[in-house]
Amino acid sequence: MIIEAISAVIIVVIALLLYLGGRRVRYTSVDYTVIGLVGVVFGVVFVPWWTVYYIVKAVAGPVGARLATYGLWFMAAPMAAVLVRKPMSALLGETVAGLIESLIPTAGGFTNLIYGFAQGLASELAYAAGLYRSYGPVVSALAGGLAAFPAVALDAVLFGDIYPWDYMTWIILGAFVSGLIYGLVAYLVGRVVRP
């Protein structure tokens, strides 16, 4: 309970800081339509991906499944950031994708929004750490990777997916590497889509 409360406080503080930092940026209508586009593409792709996840999990176990598939759920943030290239775009992209997924019938319901917001925040930190100067491959991969931490933490709370420490490290590492790979893919796609 205490750990959850502390994490909640951290999340709120980060959100507030980012909000204050990003307030000066002007978003145009084009930025918003692009966020909507990323949201619907990933909101819709996310849904059948669960099937892939379960198949891989059956074959490769929890760590392998996270390594191979988790990154896709982190991809909306770097994708939106690479296409919009403004502060807060990663957070917005992942949150809107999560909201879209919450508004279409899935078993996940509003958890999609909660995961989306938390992952988006983590990804946004990568771009913020680069002072919003770079939307390149390294930062984008990192944006994907960082989302692994809130995702694994929320899994632990919700599903009781609490493993022994050494195993947990592997799970986080698997999800993190997966995030790196898919974040890089997002960058490669984005570079072609918006030259």
């Binding site: 309970m1 209508s29 966020i35 279409i104």
Partner: protein
């Protein structure tokens, strides 16, 4: 007849979903999940897939419970393996949490159309107009993108590739055309929207708990 407002329902659903994360008490979880499931029973046909998927995912939950929480008193033996009290409790808890999440989410979706949600969040909860617009635009695109995606899949089959993306590279080669065509559309839609006065849009913010008769009609005439 008055109807619960989008924002009130949104907050309730979000709270119920958060409770699924936080609550650890079996009885409270049982009560809340039964309640949220009951709210969806009337229209259960529309969300039957949700519950079907939920049932499938329970298999994974069961395996997890047996692997990591199988402690305490043995209750019964299945194929020579002991099923202990801890596993039963863990399975029941996670299942009820998932039922609560699925039930609450389905209730919200069954109550409002996506456009109503976007508009309601904008004018009642103060969601920035741009974000609300993003959500509405996303739902405008959904069938169009589904069709594009199908076309891309057909093309891949025609060129002797996998229909379902299994590697990150597969995924990249499917996302690129989808987003490329989509980006062009999104760009011009942004321009068109600007020419229709989006920057002038001012929303009168007003939190409501319920919509009264007339308001509801105004609101739902805008449709799905």
């Amino acid at each position: 007849m008055s109807k619960l407002s989008v924002s009130a329902a949104f907050i309730i659903t979000l709270t119920l979903t958060s409770l699924a994360f936080i609550l650890d008490d079996l009885l409270a979880l049982a009560l809340l999940s039964t309640l949220s499931f009951a709210l969806t029973v009337k229209n259960i046909k529309k969300v039957k897939w949700v519950y079907l998927l939920l049932l499938i995912s329970l298999i994974g939950v069961l395996v997890n419970a047996l692997m990591f929480s199988n402690k305490g008193e043995t209750i019964l033996m299945v194929f020579g393996l002991p099923v202990r009290w801890g596993a039963v409790i863990a399975f029941a808890k996670v299942s009820l949490k998932l039922l609560l999440i699925a039930g609450a989410g389905s209730w919200f979706i069954l109550s409002y159309t996506p456009l109503e949600v976007a508009r309601g969040l904008e004018r009642e909860l103060g969601l920035p107009k741009g974000v609300s617009f993003s959500v509405a635009y996303a739902f405008r695109l959904m069938p169009l993108l589904a069709r594009d995606f199908k076309e891309i899949q057909d093309m891949r089959v025609q060129r002797g590739r996998r229909r379902i993306p299994l590697t990150p590279m597969d995924l990249a080669s499917m996302l690129t055309p989808l987003l490329r065509v989509g980006y062009e559309r999104a760009f011009w839609t942004g321009v068109a929207v600007e020419l229709r006065g989006f920057r002038l849009r001012r929303v009168k913010r007003e939190f409501k708990l319920f919509y009264k008769n007339g308001e509801l009609q105004d609101f739902s005439a805008v449709g799905a």
